[in-house]
Amino acid sequence: MSQRQVLQVFEQYQRARTQFVQAVAELSARPQNAETLRSAGVMSLLRPLLLDVVPTIQQTAALALGRLANYNDDLAEAVVKGDILPQLVCSLSEQNRFYKKAAAFVLRAVGKHSPQLAQAVVQCGALETLAICLEDFDPGVKEAAAWALGYIARHNSELSQAVVDAGAVPLLVLCIQEPEIALKRIAASTLSDISKHSPELAQTVVDAGAIAHLAQMILNPDAKLKRQVLSALSQIAKHSVDLAELVVEAEIFPVVLTCLKDSDEYVKKNGATLIREIAKHTPELSQFIVNAGGVAAVIDCIGSCRGTVRLPGIMMLGYVAAHSENLSMAVIVSKGIPPLCTCLVEEQEDHIKAAAAWALGQVGRHTPEHARAVAVANVLPTLLSMYMDTHSSEDLQVKTKRALKNILQKCTYLPALEPLLHDAPPNIMKHIVGQFSKVLPHDSKARRLFVTTGGLKKVQEIKAEPGSLLQEYINTINNCFPEEIVRYYSPGYSEILLERVENYQPVL
């Protein structure tokens, strides 16, 4: 045979291999083929192709593997069990950028499913190689490497610590400064995933100088980038007061408030989350946010959104109001109560309702003025009905009960308390009647109103154990009125009168 024929055989083989691997890559792009491919034993076939001489075949094989592993975690486990990862890691350092991208894609696909798989990826020594990839010139490689690192670090703090120990954080901060938007997004998302687990990790990220760059990128018009950046900043700020103060010192206010007016829902949500994480630490930080007009922006944001997007905003108002009565008054003055009431009424999800109830409780619990502002909004009957509703979750019930208790203990606005008298359960009734017993002895107009609106009648109908606090309150209320009126309204009085009529001997 001539040389050409020999070479032809090899060319044929190579063509076949290329065809096969490209077909597999295409098939694996569709999720429904994954099972079939797996049962056909594609893993064992793809594995030697990774070491193929021809670079294109290597890359396509890697791509196919990545897509398969991306689909579900069994395949990813098969990739791990098939000992493919060490080969990938070794060849990562040598090959060209396409291969690197594909290999990083495989690592990402394997590492995203569960902490154990991610641990397996880490044990192969992938982190150092990925960190080296972060220094590459090609932005696509950097993006793939950063993405893989992000997915690995997402699971728990040990894996994040491993990522940090591989020296990835300064490189990620450099990546953030690159001009490519996609790279910025991924790098921001990775930093967010790293810093969310513990204060030490967040401190590491801060020490690499990430905050300044992240703060600059808030102005970027790209919505997805803003999402990630705001998420990263909120993960950093949530751990401690010092970190929150560092974030605030980067002069994000009042620019962050513009994010609350963004058209993208998740940008608003993450912006509200960031402000919430800052506000929850100390009264001074909340005060700062109030002074910057943050409360107004958040209130508007709550008004314009629907659904889970509102939740961080509601919680932020609750945190601000919880710190002190001045801040709570600032929330009231910024017209914060109507949106909270609408949230309470409109939302379907129980956890959002619970958050709104909690926030209202924090606003109204400080002084009678605050309680009055909340009561005037006519929200107490709603809270009561939610508390009594059997369909509400336990969390919602607990939160509404606590909110009611806190508000009622300070509420002296009787017209709002009236409707509650009629259907409150005994443990709430105690507080309502207690408030009446505090106000009625001093206010004659209120007494009159109390009688005319039927409150006295209702109070007489309440059965309380003698000696209990409720009975004491009822006695105090009864002592405010002349005895005839009390007797008149006591239950069964008409029968008594009729009996007297019956037993009466007419005087002739």
Partner: protein, 492 residues
């Protein structure tokens, strides 16, 4: 009273007696029948009388101590000045035999028959004495009777007297002791009275002091409470819960919120506009590109294009666009730079929206303002008050006298013709002899040390001809002499 020492001539019986009676011996011995030669101690009236009553009488017949016949003449037994009670004192009431029976010399004494150691003497004697003896013996029973009777009488008397004496004495002693106790009591009362009075007065003074102190402290506390009340009210109302500041703050917050809301609204509107504009531009671009691609649909003279239907009043806008557009060339499209999109995304307004809070809100970490300030005008007046020095300060340091002197000197110097001093007349003192001082005069004239030379120098021993260089720096201040100021004033 000490028992009288037994005299040598004393009969042993007496010794015995004295042994019995003990300290009462001396008293007992001071019986009326004390022998004359003996110096008896005269005892007090108290002790004497009962003594012989108190003394136990071992023998029932022991009675008054009768001195023995050997002891000398006895005193007559008359009514003793301290006679015993058993013998009635009345002159008539005399017992038989008032006088002491004359006892025979060796005959029966008071003790009846002689004691045994007498009996020897009692024997012997003449016949005449025998008849006397017989007579005496005849009388003996009666005597015995008498003696016995008297003894018994005396004994009873003695007993009665003894008891009486005891009673008297005991009563008297009792009275004495009681008187003494009363006296003591009175003294003690006196002392205690004074002492208690003193203590109480001290206590009272202390109480008064404490009460006064408490009163003062209450008063001070009252006043302090008033001051503190005012101060605390002021302080709290001004710094801790300043109602008006809070009100202003809340108003400022609302104003700020309004501003922020307006600005955010503007920003949102701006974004909307930008977006719309961008969309529109994109659409336009699309349309243009389409037009360029399909420029062949342009209507010609002969054939009306699709967009230029003859039944329309005016051509379709697409037609107009087609007319304007240039046909696409076959050149390959330029590769879009990857940055273009990003730049395209940026809004035309490149400045980020700035927020200006209308009024700056009060600072968070508000420092407490310092105390009440004085009026500014007053302060400035004080600060820039012109100096009004006293006469002493205003006057120059040099007194006028000094100044005048200086003036005079200057005048003289001015008027000098030349500066050489006139030397004093040397011939005036030409012949004066010099008196050398004693300190310096030595034997051979004046010591030259201290005048002519100070130390011995031996130039031949010197190593170099030059002097030592000074190691220490010269005094800096003195180097500045004449060089502190510039010399330009000294040109003339």
């Amino acid at each position: 009273m000490n028992p009288a020492p037994p005299s040598p001539g004393r009969s042993p019986g007496r010794l015995r007696r004295s042994a019995h009676t003990g300290p009462g011996a001396g008293g007992g011995r001071a019986a009326p029948q004390a022998p004359a030669g003996r110096a008896r101690k005269r005892l007090g009236p108290r002790q004497e009388g009962g003594r012989h009553h108190l003394s136990p009488s071992p023998a029932p017949h022991r009675q008054h101590r009768a001195p023995s016949p050997l002891t000398g003449p006895r005193r007559p037994l008359g009514p003793s000045p301290r006679g015993c009670l058993c013998r009635p004192r009345s002159p008539h009431g005399a017992g038989p035999g008032r006088g002491r029976p004359r006892l025979p010399a060796g005959g029966a004494g008071w003790y009846g028959p002689l004691p045994w150691w007498r009996r020897r003497r009692a024997g012997g004697g003449s016949g005449g004495s025998m008849a006397a003896l017989a007579r005496l013996r005849a009388r003996l029973p009666a005597l015995r009777e008498e003696c016995f009777r008297r003894n018994r009488c005396v004994d009873e008397d003695r007993k009665i007297k003894y008891k009486a004496a005891v009673k008297i004495q005991s009563w008297f002693r009792g009275c004495r002791v009681r008187a003494y106790l009363r006296h003591l009591n009175k003294m003690v009362i006196c002392i205690q009275k004074r002492w208690r009075g003193y203590q109480s007065r001290r206590y009272f003074r202390k109480i008064v002091k404490t009460a006064y102190f408490i009163m003062k402290m209450n008063f001070y506390n009252e006043m302090a409470v008033r001051i503190q009340k005012r101060w605390r009210g002021y302080y709290v109302r001004k710094y801790i819960h300043n109602y008006y500041a809070l009100k202003k703050y809340l108003e400022a917050v609302s104003v700020n919120n309004e501003i922020v809301r307006n600005e955010l609204q503007e920003y949102a509107e701006m974004n909307e506009k930008e977006k719309k504009k961008k969309d529109q531009e994109k659409k336009e671009k699309e349309k243009e590109y389409q037009a360029r691609k399909m420029h062949y649909l342009l209507s010609t003279e002969q054939i009306a294009g699709i967009y230029n239907s003859p039944f329309r009043k005016s051509p379709d806008p697409m037609e107009l666009l087609l007319r304007q557009s240039k046909p696409l060339s076959h050149r390959r499209q330029q590769v879009k730079s990857p940055f273009r999109d990003e730049l395209y995304d940026w809004p035309t307004c490149t400045r980020p929206p700035t927020f200006h809070a209308g009024e700056s809100l009060p600072p968070i970490g508000r420092q407490k303002p310092q105390g009440p300030f004085r009026d500014t005008a007053e302060v400035l007046r004080q600060r820039y008050m012109p100096l009004e020095p006293t006469l002493r300060v205003a006057a120059s340091i040099d007194s006028p006298l000094e100044k005048a002197r200086v003036e005079m000197k200057r005048g003289e110097w001015r008027n000098h013709i030349h500066d050489n001093e006139f030397l004093p007349f040397s011939s005036y003192h030409k012949n004066e002899k010099y008196d050398p001082s004693i300190h310096r005069s030595g034997k051979y004239g004046q010591e030259t040390y201290g005048i002519k030379h100070f130390r011995e120098v031996q130039p031949n021993k010197w190593v170099t001809g030059k002097d030592f260089q000074t190691v220490l720096p010269s005094i800096v201040l003195f180097e500045k002499f004449g060089k502190t100021y510039s010399r330009c004033g000294q040109i003339v």
